[in-house]
């Protein structure tokens, strides 16, 4: 065990990995801070650049991007009242109030330190929970994986609350797109329209670069053509003292726990975590009336929870091969490109890689807090970059990224088609997350369902007699019935947030 950790540390602390981590975190902060560029887009665009690197080095860059972007979305939310990413939407409840009363540095410091604490605690959870869960999941076979995939798909439906019909259609579309190509069990060609490029199916990375990066370029162009520009606010001089920060230790722990838990639940994300943590902090607060008027407690809750998701979301990805949120769904693509199959066997067969990823996440959080504390004034200026320069650059990265993976012109077409599909879906109010997550879960659900029936001689009771499998199916059924009840009675309908 000690040798494994030593080997992992050597890989994660090599000069190449440290530089990749540093660049990833810095780029992540830029992507997070710029409205219109998101964490998913950053990770998606980084994958084609990293696939030639050693796996731990590649993941150092990707995790740096993930942590940096989730954290930095709050910078613009606080300074210019525009969240850089969806994860920072809850920051809007408190952040801009600090800038309005000339205490922006205090809010930025709380964001940085809260994100750091959340990130580090999530690393600890990842390091301790993931190996145990992987050991437990070693007993999983086809029926359990099928039920887990089904559970993930049900959670996708909860993401679509308020747009259940369109979310379900998007999920169906994702499932069907993932089935294009050669059937893994029988070898039949499904829905290929006799196109040789479709034999191996739709490549995931070009599809998600189009879906999450190119489509976002079109959306951001609207702001450019409207002439919307952001002006960075002046950052105040007085920051947050450590003594003041320590006052919020209970909120830090609670919000971290909420973030980690929500991260672990498949298909949820940082945006959900920060709203839940904010609500809990308000409920527990002695001064709930201050919430919404620039409360450090509220800000502490949202910022800690959204970065606590980072480690939590990696737990189901690494142990079960089921992504915890959209960013980790994109990372699943990166793992596949590296020839790595996530799941419990990964901990047995490639333990140094897994521990290398854990250590890389710790390092990303350290870079994040250092950059946040010392260069926040510099990063707050990125909003000055004109969209007219930035968006053509991102488009070029999409095109080269779509091509670079397999040097395939067909993939380039896939990227373009998914870019248009993504834009149309956004404009027609179809959520994108169910499409992507269904594309990922499709293989897990179908293959394991068929394998389970093969093993059990076509006996469907196999899904109800195995306790874990039955539990997942039961929970999925309860979630689904609850959703349908809410939809029917139109109670507590929350608008969908992509």
């Amino acid at each position: 065990m000690f040798e494994t950790i030593l080997e992992a540390a050597r890989a994660a602390c090599s000069l190449e990995a440290i530089v990749a981590n540093f660049i990833g975190t810095a780029l992540g902060i830029v992507f997070g801070a710029l409205p219109g560029l998101t964490a998913v887009m950053g990770v998606a665009l980084l994958i084609p650049l990293t696939f030639g690197l050693a796996p731990v080095t590649a993941f150092s860059a990707l995790l740096g991007m993930f942590c940096g972007a989730i954290y930095a979305g709050s910078i613009t939310a606080i300074l210019v009242s525009t969240p850089g990413t969806a994860a920072a939407a809850a920051t809007m409840l408190e952040g801009p109030k600090f800038t309005a009363r000339g205490e922006s540095l205090k809010a930025l410091d709380m964001t940085t330190l809260g994100s750091f604490v959340g990130g580090i605690l999530s690393c600890v959870a990842l390091t301790t929970v993931a190996p145990q869960l992987a050991r437990f999941a070693l007993d999983f076979s086809a029926p359990e994986y099928f039920s887990l995939g089904l559970f993930g798909l049900t959670v996708v439906a909860t993401l679509s609350e308020g747009a259940l019909l369109k979310g379900t259609i998007a999920a169906c579309l994702g499932l069907i797109i993932a089935m294009i190509g050669m059937d893994p069990l029988s070898g039949d060609m499904r829905m290929t329209f006799d196109q040789p490029g479709l034999i191996n199916g739709i490549a995931l990375v070009p599809a998600l670069v189009g879906l999450y990066a190119l489509s976002q370029v079109f959306v951001s162009l609207e702001q450019v053509f409207r002439g919307t520009t952001l002006k960075p606010a002046e950052i105040s001089r007085e920051g947050l003292s450590l003594k003041e920060f320590w006052l919020y230790k209970k909120i830090l722990l609670l919000s971290s726990a909420i973030g980690i838990f929500i991260g672990i639940v498949p298909a949820t994300g940082a945006g959900t975590a920060s709203f839940v943590a904010y609500g809990e902090a308000k409920r527990m607060s002695k001064n709930p009336e201050q919430f919404g008027h620039g409360s450090l407690e509220g800000l502490c809750a949202t910022e800690t929870a959204n970065n606590a998701v980072t480690g939590g979301a990696l737990i189901p990805l690494l142990t079960l091969g089921v992504p915890g949120d959209v960013v980790t769904a994109v990372m699943l693509g990166a793992l596949m490109i590296q020839g790595i199959t996530p799941g419990p066997l990964l901990f047995q067969n490639q333990a140094p890689l897994v521990y290398g990823i854990f250590i890389a996440l710790f390092i990303s959080n350290i870079f994040m807090v250092l950059m946040g504390m010392f260069t926040v004034r510099l990063f707050s200026k990125v909003v000055l970059i004109p969209g007219g320069i930035l968006l053509p650059l991102v488009t070029t990265l999409c095109v080269v990224g779509g091509y670079a993976l397999n040097n395939s012109n067909f993939d380039l077409g896939v990227m373009g088609a998914f870019g248009v599909l993504g834009y149309v879906m956004i404009k027609a109010r179809f959520p994108l997350a169910p499409l992507l997550l269904a594309m990922i879960l499709s293989g897990i659900i179908e293959t394991n369902f068929r394998r389970a029936l093969d093993i059990s001689n076509n006996d469907f009771s196999v899904f109800f007699t195995r306790p874990i499998c039955a539990a997942f199916i039961g929970i999925s059924a309860v979630i689904l019935l609850n959703l349908l009840r809410k939809q029917f009675f139109k109670k507590n309908v929350i608008p969908l947030n992509n």
Partner: protein, 158 residues
């Protein structure tokens, strides 16, 4: 019609269901006697999607009014033009790249020419129109990307 966007989306989805369903129908019958074959799952999903598309169609005709989040025409037209420019860039990337490869031009010739032209045109279209800075920025970006992808990461650019 209460919601044009949903109406056309549901029609497009129904058309996709017909096309995909036809593809599944063409699959050969399985040799084994397995209950669940390569066609089963896609058939279930396509059937369910058809049902949902019909519900969407019905709602678009008789449900609440709506129009999606489409931008107004003066904004949408430049976006459409930018979309066409991106399409031209992708086509140029493929065609010029293939031409450069077939004629033994130095590696990356097609990429450099199309990317530079695209960056200049895209900046101009995105209303960044500084006569000196635009070509300079395009040159710097093209050179930067060529260095990162081709030199550092050994991606064989066309």
């Amino acid at each position: 019609m209460k919601n044009k966007t949903d109406f056309f989306c549901s029609l497009a989805l129904l058309a996709a269901c017909v096309l995909l369903g036809h593809q599944i129908w063409l699959l050969p019958a399985p040799a084994s006697k397995a209950i669940i074959t390569a066609a089963t799952f896609p058939t279930w999903i396509i059937s369910f999607m058809t049902l949902l598309s019909c519900v969407l169609l019905f709602k678009s005709l008789f449900g609440a009014k709506g129009r999606g989040d489409w931008p107004e025409r003066p904004i949408f037209i430049p976006i459409l033009m930018m979309g066409l420019l991106i399409l031209a860039y992708i086509a140029g990337f493929i065609l010029l790249g293939d031409y450069a490869m077939q004629n033994d031009f130095p590696e990356g010739t097609g990429f450099v020419i199309t990317t530079w032209l695209f960056l200049v045109a895209a900046q101009y279209m995105a209303r960044y129109r500084h006569l000196v800075r635009v070509p300079l920025i395009a040159t710097a970006m093209t050179a930067g990307m060529f260095t990162v992808f081709s030199v550092l990461f050994k991606v064989p650019l066309p």
